[in-house]
């Protein structure tokens, strides 16, 4: 099984989640030899995306058999792994539709036959269902990392074309750019001016400008700017996206993040990857492989080898007793450590399979709705469909999750159905997947007592990837202590000189054309040219 696979590396990475994949790519990029493994037969671990059949299989939570390995001598200890799928609890998949239509009598009109599960399963590959749905701020965080490292050339994105918020018992479009506000019929002239003023202030304020005036809670600050309740709610909930008790500093920083992201790729601050979030991990793994990393999925992992004399992790061992050594470090997702099962914090996640959008539209949309209220944490709702390649035409995926789980899933669905009214009802929900995901990000890092074993975390309940990117960056500098550059830009093909050939290299660079039209896909690799095309809305902002 391991024929041809070297037994010694600089770094061994266990788990193909986001943080591990970024780290593996960063290490390989800097010339380290890397072995990157996963016990699953897919990439992404907790961040993976599945076809419909793949998801159904995942819900069955197949566990790998545990095998005890004996230490090979007195200096060695073995730390066995736990079941990494234990980060998922209470996994339930319910369908509101029949399995098949074969038994029903034939009706005259074929088209009114109700949809059945086997019809969906036949189109299984058209589904790409995220275990961890996330959005990407157009500036900062993961997008900046993708552009800076040139990993962006491996992926494509769609603009999150529709941002919604709750207003007067309905869901409406969020007016956040100058054009939105100009075109809105629901805001009075004076309110338009006041809202634009606050938005422009948030945009242009630098961290140094914050002073004692800003020590009040954000909601009070907004009221001081003479905004009415609806507009305060709009800014807190849908632009800053903070809780009602947030500080002004936090509110302004997050509003600025949102506003700075508008216009970079289109009239919305968020992007969503084509074919789902699982693609992201694969992109970083691809970079790692390009720089010489070795990949092994479905690795039969038994545990970690430890040098008992100095309590140092030295590598991994397979269930067949094969040992692989790591000279510098072993990086491992903490879902493999048995301690994770005692973790109490969970994120409740829901995926609804629907046959209608929560708000009708003439074109394909990627939708983000954030619900919140006083004394409640924000509820994230993302709807994707055929546009980003996540569902067959006519079907949608509705992701629901919270930053810190306090609400009951059924209550949230009730709340949503009240808002959508007749446009979208319970009849449109064909199926429902619910599960709990242990939140390893927010728990204090139980750094293992072993040296040379770096433990990474899984996703948190936030809407973006910032915490994962930060974690990867910090861990990288912990390992290589600032001497090395984190994910330097990979060279473009035309700058590579192959020994023995002439200067000019004929390989063509396949950067795709860029349209900032919302209905087309966006390639972040050629961001330099795109940056000069910023919508003039943001220039005024």
């Amino acid at each position: 099984m391991f024929e041809g696979l070297p037994r010694e590396y600089d770094v061994i990475v266990v788990g193909t989640g986001m943080v591990e994949s970024i780290l593996a790519a960063a290490c390989a990029r800097n010339g380290k030899t890397v072995l990157h493994i996963d016990t699953n037969e897919y990439y992404g671990a907790e961040w993976a995306s599945f076809s419909l059949n793949g998801l159904i299989e995942w819900t069955q939570m197949q566990e790998n058999p545990k095998i005890d390995i004996n230490p090979q001598d007195d200096t060695e200890k073995i730390l066995p792994i736990g079941n990494p799928l234990n980060v998922f609890r209470n996994v339930e998949l319910k369908w509101n539709i029949e399995k098949t239509n074969e038994q029903t009598t034939t009706t005259e009109n074929e088209s009114i036959k109700p949809i059945t599960l086997d019809v969906l399963e036949k189109q299984s590959r058209k589904f790409n269902i995220d275990l961890t749905p996330k959005l990407y701020y157009a500036s900062g965080g993961l997008i900046d990392l993708l552009v800076q490292s040139n990993v962006g050339k491996y992926c494509e994105f769609k603009l999150v074309s529709r941002l919604l918020f709750e207003r007067n018992g309905q869901i409406d479009n969020v007016p956040s750019s100058r054009a939105d506000i100009f075109n809105s019929n629901d805001i009075s002239l004076i309110d338009k001016r006041l809202l634009m003023k606050v938005i422009m202030n948030c945009s242009s304020m630098a961290i140094e400008d914050l002073n004692e005036e800003h020590d009040i809670p954000f909601i009070e600050y907004l009221k001081k700017q003479k905004l009415n309740d609806t507009l305060c709610h709009l800014i807190i909930n849908s632009i800053s996206m903070v809780d009602y008790n947030a500080s002004t500093k936090e509110g302004i920083i997050k509003a600025k993040r949102y506003l700075d992201s508008i216009g970079r790729y289109g009239n919305s601050p968020f992007l969503y990857p084509l074919y789902g979030n699982g693609e992201m991990c694969q992109c970083f793994c691809r970079l790692c492989a390009v720089f010489g990393g070795f990949y092994f999925l479905r690795f039969p992992l038994a545990g970690f080898t430890i040098d008992s004399l100095n309590n140092q992790c030295t590598g991994i061992v397979s269930t067949t007793g094969e040992r692989f050594r790591a000279r510098d470090m072993v990086i491992c997702n903490n879902s493999f450590l048995e301690s994770v099962s005692s973790n109490k914090n969970v994120i409740h996640r829901t995926v609804l399979f629907t046959n209608k959008s929560i708000k009708s539209s003439e074109k394909e949309e990627v939708t983000y709705l954030r619900l919140s209220a006083q004394n409640k944490t924000g509820i994230h709702i993302i709807e994707v469909g055929f546009g980003p390649g996540c569902a067959p035409d006519g079907f949608f995926l509705l992701y629901i999750f919270q930053e810190s789980s306090s609400e009951n899933t059924d209550e949230i669905i009730e709340q949503l159905l009240r808002l959508t009214g007749d446009n979208f009802t319970r009849d449109n929900i064909l199926g429902q997947l619910t599960f709990d995901q242990v939140d390893t990000m927010s728990t204090s890092s139980s750094s293992s007592t072993l040296s040379k074993l770096i433990v990474t975390h899984g996703p948190d309940g936030s809407i973006d990837h910032d915490s994962a990117v930060e974690a990867a960056r910090n861990l990288f500098y912990e390992i290589y202590s600032n001497r090395e550059e984190f994910l330097a830009r990979a060279p473009d093909p035309e700058d590579i000189i192959i020994e023995g050939t002439d200067n000019t290299d004929e390989t063509n660079n396949t950067d795709e054309t860029n349209n900032t039209d919302e209905t087309s896909t966006i390639n972040t690799a050629t961001d330099d040219t795109l940056a000069t095309k910023t919508n003039t809305d943001t220039e005024a902002l």
Partner: protein
């Protein structure tokens, strides 16, 4: 990168040197081509000349002389050949526009072609051109060349029957409204809006008060949303003074909203200037007007101090 064998990557100094080399080569090629064309200008092989100029222009679309030579050549051809080559010319300019969407000469050449083809007016041709404008406007909605060309096309596409004309103008105003909706600062859109509004009002004066009321609401919306955008303020001034006329300006409807805006945005020069002009025409608030003009000249917009002082 051990997997791909020995590879070296160009340093940024080497990259710069490579770029310099490329540019020098390109320049040399251009100079040779240009000289050759000038030499061939008087020869009789017209088609060869066209081919030569075409090759050069695709890479360097802004060379006036070369386009001039092409016009010379095409006019020398006989009628049916001429028509064929004029059509081709449209294709060639399109290619050239790809490298520079704001090339004066390319747009000029297109317009010249249409003028030459005028005797054989072809509706399809004009519709196609309109669609092309649409595409270019999607790329850059503030490309004034494209707007001017579009205006020229519409002049010729304008229906002659009275009932159709009104719909035609209304459609255009709707289009301009949506363009402004996408981007308030689109000066071209506001400018052409003023032209079409003029035409519509001339054609059907009955709708005057209704239309002007709607326009006023639109422009007020614009200046409230973004009080520092010039395009909207210029349109506002045109609407009030050129269209509405001083007699029709009322305090409640026109002056008061601006005064309210001024209260919220106290140092906004556009608002202050507009108010000063209104107060002057209506012969009210003279002290306040002088005060504002002084402040504008001395503090707020000192670059144009003389302009403000002149108005006192």
């Amino acid at each position: 990168m051990p997997v791909h064998g020995q590879v070296k990557i160009r340093t940024s100094a080497e990259q710069k040197a490579a770029r310099e080399r490329e540019r020098a080569e390109k320049l040399q090629l251009y100079l040779t081509e240009y000289e050759s064309i000038l030499n061939n200008r008087q020869l009789t092989d017209l088609f060869a000349l066209l081919k030569q100029t075409e090759n050069t222009l695709i890479n360097h679309p802004d060379c006036f002389t070369l386009w001039n030579i092409r016009r010379e050549v095409i006019l020398k051809l006989d009628n049916d050949k001429q028509k064929e080559y004029l059509q081709k010319e449209l294709q060639i300019t399109q290619l050239c526009l790809k490298s520079n969407v704001k090339s004066y000469s390319c747009w000029n050449q297109r317009q010249w072609c249409l003028k030459q083809l005028k005797e054989n007016f072809d509706l399809n041709l004009y519709q196609n051109e309109l669609q092309l404008c649409q595409k270019f406007l999607e790329i850059d909605e503030r490309n004034f060349h494209c707007w001017a060309y579009r205006y020229y096309l519409l002049e010729h596409l304008c229906p002659s029957s009275s009932s159709d004309i009104e719909t035609f103008y209304d459609n255009e105003l709707t289009f301009l409204r949506s363009t402004i909706g996408n981007n308030l600062s689109n000066y071209s859109a506001w400018h052409y809006r003023s032209k079409y509004l003029d035409k519509l009002l001339d054609h059907n004066p009955i709708r005057r008060s209704n239309l002007l009321l709607k326009e006023w609401e639109l422009v007020l919306n614009a200046v409230y949303t973004d009080c520092s955008d010039q395009a909207a303020w210029f349109y506002l001034r045109w609407l009030l003074f050129k269209q509405l006329g001083v007699e029709s300006i009322t305090e409640t409807e026109h002056i008061k909203p601006l005064e309210e805006l001024d209260e919220i945005e106290s140092e906004n020069k556009w608002c202050m200037l507009a108010l000063c002009q209104l107060w002057k025409e209506k012969k009210i608030n003279d002290d306040k007007r002088r005060n504002y003009l002084e402040r504008l000249a001395n503090h707020i917009d000192t670059d144009r101090a003389a302009f403000y002082r002149d108005q006192i």
